[in-house]
Symmetry: none
Subunit: 549 residues, 2 copies
């Protein structure tokens, strides 16, 4: 019989402390839904009242199986829990569980809060009792606990006991500054349990300042805690929080954890881990870390020649787990055998059934490989990948051809002496043997100039002859640009996300040293993908021959 070990995710709260990270409300909702699908126990959504985004998130919180948790702090001294407005805002979010941070390090109580040690104990006990009286599950986040314990173990333990005595379900031991090493975490956890706080009421919350956040969490679990806190991809202030993307597969796949604990996450859900990790990077417009344990693109890439040949005989020779268990894939240079079966699965997902051994499979792999060397990224841009495959399979009609374009952006003072911009595009396209030329500006309904890519898109839409009506419901919803390496030089990679009136969402990619060209290429792919789906079969033009590239 395995013991229950609880997973507490704080991507939406502590993860948002990452430099440069600011989730929108809808992004928070998307992430919460992904976490819920993965199967974590708690989703900490933010600090209601601390900023408008967090408040808005809780107001329209998604329905989750996981316990949605609001974060806040213990009441301040000199007022009751009932009359603390900061605490009231947290209560008003209406979540079933609430986690309140409080001081446990005597130095912080006196130096940072400027109150007595006794007042701090009373703040903890009264705040937790207030949550419990209101029927909420109460968690106490013991800030600076490990440093506090080292400085004054009796006081640090008294804080935990105040929370536990007031009815807290969980006492979370925080290594706030991230400087405590795993061995010391384990030793202190054992001491806390020996002092009478049961392991089934203890959680661990570590930071990665010495690159030991994952190990510190595992050490605490071995020492007896039964809740582990962390974030997806190790987001978080400074060097980040404990990385749940590494901890979860270790708990499910490695001993002594796999036999000892039930985390509530099953092996089937675990196969979605790589996808969730990439989705978060996508939301943040970050390049996914190739070396990331378990989920990185390089995590199962075998570069050394000796390793790669052994892997072909038996993958266990140089792999600690099967990459499929976390939804990742093995990369073996020059291995078309492994590559081709993956490829057939991806094509089938796009509705393209291809027989094993079809020579087009090798051509598609070669072309994708060559383009990835130029800086394209087909992991994200599934629609552009499909178009390449269709071309090699002879299943891609040539709807239109762009003969040339020109786009101008001008910025100068207007009559009211304000600097304003104006963009204009001219596009010449050949459709059904006829050349069309059209011109468009990029001024939107509110009168602002939306820039050169928008001007090109509008001109293109005018130009498409009988296809114009079909793309009428398309809209560009996201646009991500990165400088990346294309062969030996830096190039710009543009990923465009489009949606249409039927609720489809698809991603396309363009690469060029010139950002406008790269954007235009991604835009053309987006349109071509839409036309493949929506042009009536009878109205399809002839399939074009495979183009030389």
């Amino acid at each position: 019989m395995r013991e229950r070990l609880y997973i507490y995710d704080t991507t939406l709260r502590d993860g948002q402390q990452t430099q440069g990270v600011q989730f929108s409300t809808s992004e928070k909702t998307r992430i919460a839904e992904a976490l819920d699908k993965l199967g974590v126990d708690y989703i900490e959504g933010g600090w209601p009242g601390a900023n408008p985004t967090d408040s808005a998130f809780f107001e329209a919180a998604p329905k989750t199986r996981a316990r949605l948790t609001a974060f806040g702090m213990t009441k301040r001294a000199g007022r009751s829990a009932e009359n603390d407005d900061v605490l009231a805002a947290v209560m008003n979010a209406g979540t079933g569980a609430i986690c309140l941070v409080g001081k446990t390090h005597d130095f912080h109580v006196t130096a940072a809060l400027g109150i007595t040690l006794e007042e701090n104990l009373e703040n903890i006990a009264a705040s937790i009792a207030h949550l419990v009286a209101q029927g909420r599950e109460a968690l106490f986040d013991a800030e600076h606990f490990f440093d506090g314990y080292k400085a004054n173990p009796d006081y640090a333990l008294a804080c935990l006991k105040a929370a536990l005595g007031a009815g807290a379900r969980w006492i979370v031991l925080c290594d706030t500054n991230g400087g405590t090493l795993p061995e010391e975490i384990a030793r202190i956890v054992r001491a806390v349990i020996a002092a009478g706080i049961p392991g089934e009421n203890l959680g661990i919350h570590t930071h990665n300042d010495t690159e030991n956040a994952v190990a510190g969490s595992l050490a605490a679990i071995e020492a007896g805690v039964r809740q582990v806190q962390g974030t997806l991809n190790g987001l978080g202030e400074r060097c980040g929080n404990a990385n749940l993307t590494s901890i979860i597969p270790t708990l499910l796949l490695k001993e002594p954890f796999a036999s000892a604990f039930d985390t509530g996450i099953d092996l089937e859900a675990l196969t979605g881990l790589t996808r969730i990790s990439r989705m978060l990077d996508d939301i943040l417009n970050r390049v996914p870390m190739k070396q990331a344990p378990y989920v990185g693109a390089s995590a199962f890439a075998h570069k050394a020649g000796l390793h790669a040949s052994a892997i072909l005989k038996d993958p266990t020779t140089y792999e600690h787990i099967d990459p499929g268990e976390v939804g990742n894939t093995r990369i073996i240079p020059m291995s078309n055998q492994a590559g081709q079966s993956n490829l057939r699965r991806r094509l089938a997902e796009a509705g393209l059934e291809v027989a094993p051994g079809d020579p087009a499979l090798g051509r598609i792999l070669d072309r994708v490989k060559a383009r990835e060397d130029e800086g394209y990224a087909y992991d994200t841009a599934q629609a552009s990948f499909e178009l390449i495959a269709r071309e090699e399979l002879g299943r891609m009609p040539e709807f239109f051809e762009v003969k040339r374009y020109r786009v101008t952006v001008e910025r100068r003072k207007n009559k009211r002496n304000r600097m304003v911009s104006f963009s204009e595009a001219v596009v010449v396209i050949k459709v059904d043997g006829q050349k069309h030329m059209s011109i468009s500006d990029s001024v939107d309904a509110s009168g602002s100039d939306r820039g050169p890519v928008n001007a090109l898109a509008k001109a293109l839409a005018k130009d498409l002859g009988r296809y114009s009506a079909i793309i009428d419901d398309m809209r560009l919803v996201d646009f991500k640009v990165r400088i990346t390496q294309g062969g030996t030089e830096a190039v710009t990679r543009v990923i465009i996300d489009s949606i249409d009136g039927q609720g489809r969402r698809w991603s396309t990619v363009g690469v060029s040293p010139n950002i406008v060209d790269a954007s235009f290429e991604a835009l053309l792919d987006a349109i071509r993908w839409k036309l493949v789906r929506d042009v009536a079969p009878g109205a399809l033009p002839d399939v074009a021959p495979v183009r030389a590239v």
Copy 2:
């Protein structure tokens, strides 16, 4: 009396197994010199004979205080050590120390090598004896040791004893597949020592496949090994090797290690760690990882409002070490969670001393807040933040004014019937009361068109009159674009990272519905920030009045 603990760097050998990494000979030399200055004990330079770069590196190896070490493998079965050509190539590199990898996992001996267990023992003993006979320091790299020990402890130990008996100075325990957790590493190390291999002859070599490579190394040291292997920035195959950039400061600054061990690296050299880490990223043309422990740009960045205000009172409240000890710096970023006290701190770091209560502080915060609502992001773009503050403080000279610009991108077929692009910008600028107009294309040395932003940058650089020479060493190194919300409508946010010849790196931001405008705004900020620093005080123009925005 502290015990000696040896640091063995394998950035140039195992680090080169990283996907996408291929050092040139001169890059290897540069890295070796930096490692030597840091004070590591061993620098593993590569595998002589395995590839031309490694052979060339050893042929003209730099003179180092550290022991330069060649890597190779034990002789093959059926020939003597003297007659093994692969081993001969390694010997011929002429290094004082040689590290030979050999099998210790019975499954690999029989399945991968296809030889008997006895033959493998003989290969190990004969190879090591050969090195020793030639007067070299011999290291035995025990491949798959931990997996091997778990499968067949007697055989795995027999391999180690064969190497030790033949005169190996070091037996390096490798967790080749990276799947062994720290607790298990410690347990097996203790068993090895109990079986008669002294800790002072043992090294540890871990990989980061479960994000525990650093912790595994530390656990092995606590269990008794006296050599630790790893790479700078955790380079290495798959998820990387143990990261020496994290291990070294932990060993020097944290207990129980700091009191117990002398690593040969002193605290003075440790202050060069951040610089070495960034230099390696620079050689690899990688964007340094902001969240990297100890050396990352975010490692001492305090975003949360409560943390930031406490840091101002006492940095130990939220920092586990003083950032200066590793040559890093504290960052208190601007964000809507920050208040006036951390604003003053941030300004002081930019050389702007402002008295508490100065009304400019409130104006700066208001303006930052208003701009963040429009989509700007100042916690990343510190340089743009500084310019806003300077304007509000009346300390921002108006170096130049852009009167207007126009940029055109054209794409059409060239004479050889290939689609090509051409961008051209016209910029009119007023400097020192004089209008300048200049025109530039954006064709680079290789003949490719770098796009409209590059054309604008080049035209601008021509135009800057007496400032042109100052910005000559500036280079744009990263360019990130996101669609974000600015008030009620979607806008484009551009973040530009620039570097200059003095090794500075700074980030600026621009926001507009028009991507070219947003890029141009970030570019102008980058130039203005550079001019503030590098224009001689006597040559500064008058400070402009605060501009209405």
